[in-house]
Symmetry: C2
Subunit: 146 residues, 2 copies
DNA sequence: TAAGAATGTTAGCTATGGCTAAAATTATCA
DNA sequence: TGATAATTTTAGCCATAGCTAACATTCTTA
């Protein structure tokens, strides 16, 4: 029998550890970390278009979960665990971005990527990666898309 | 400049009228309505794996928004507006389901559909529909996927 | 038709994840 | 070095969307 749930229902059902927001923060910390090893509350707030108190709160959660090191007024640094996740999240982001791009999304490319990425599990991600590769090398598709 | 937001940020930014949950409820009312014209709080609760008080609360919101007709202890009925949306949501669901199926998702097909559908806007949906059609008629893909 | 079962509602709790205003800390620079 | 500016935190608010427990209504059936 088909088993439907609300979106929230799926999250609870799967004991999903990371919420979409947590993912957004970790991915962004990881992104910023690439170019500088100083990640601050303010940087993150600006990058995510969020007010600093929201960031403070989230950093506490991430710190409790063992995703970041953080001490009051200090620098934010991903733990090994956090770093692995960040790496995965950024790759996921890029995979979806490339996929959406090749199927012709232009205007809302980033927004659609940001929304979709949280919904896609590892298996689906791999399928999408494979599909993107296929499309990139498919002459019929080349004709179809132009 | 790239403008990132948290997922919640995008929702607020776009003044998105329908939350994911609201969409889930409307889609399910629409679904149930196809086979019977008696949609009750309990049916909906069971179908969505949610407790009846949650449904009562949501039905009130949907009623206030003009998506359903409802009177205490009565039947739930979509308004014309609700019906149009339900129709769109069900089509969106099916489109994504077919897409995920053709790219080889099996185990989490329904769950991934349910998660993805809320993230996809009309333009992306059309692209995905087009892509699915293409894949269905693409001999190279037939070879690739087997 | 009256009792019990089924269904639905209300009240009030939870967590997430935003926000503002105000307080605290840290950094800068004259 | 001490005043001011910038950054960060705390406190407390909001809405969404679940939940349980208790109450109300409606339905069924003996």
């Amino acid at each position: 029998m088909d088993e439907y749930y609300t979106l929230r229902g799926y999250k609870i059902k799967n004991e999903e550890i990371l919420s979409s927001s947590m993912e957004d923060y970790i991915e962004m910390i990881y992104r910023i970390s690439i170019n500088s090893d100083e990640v601050r509350v303010n940087d993150l707030s600006e990058a995510l278009n969020v007010q600093p108190p929201s960031t403070t709160k989230m950093i506490k959660r991430l710190s409790n979960g063992g995703y970041v090191y953080y001490e009051k007024y200090g620098l934010i640094k991903l733990t090994d665990k956090g770093n692995d996740i960040g790496d995965y999240l950024l790759k996921r982001h890029k995979t979806i971005y490339e996929f959406l791009k090749i199927i012709g999304i232009e205007n809302d490319l980033l927004e659609q990527t940001e929304k979709l990425e949280h919904a896609i599990n590892e298996n689906t991600l791999n399928r999408i990666k494979g599909l993107t590769d296929f499309l990139n090398n498919c002459s019929e598709y080349g004709k179809y898309i132009t």
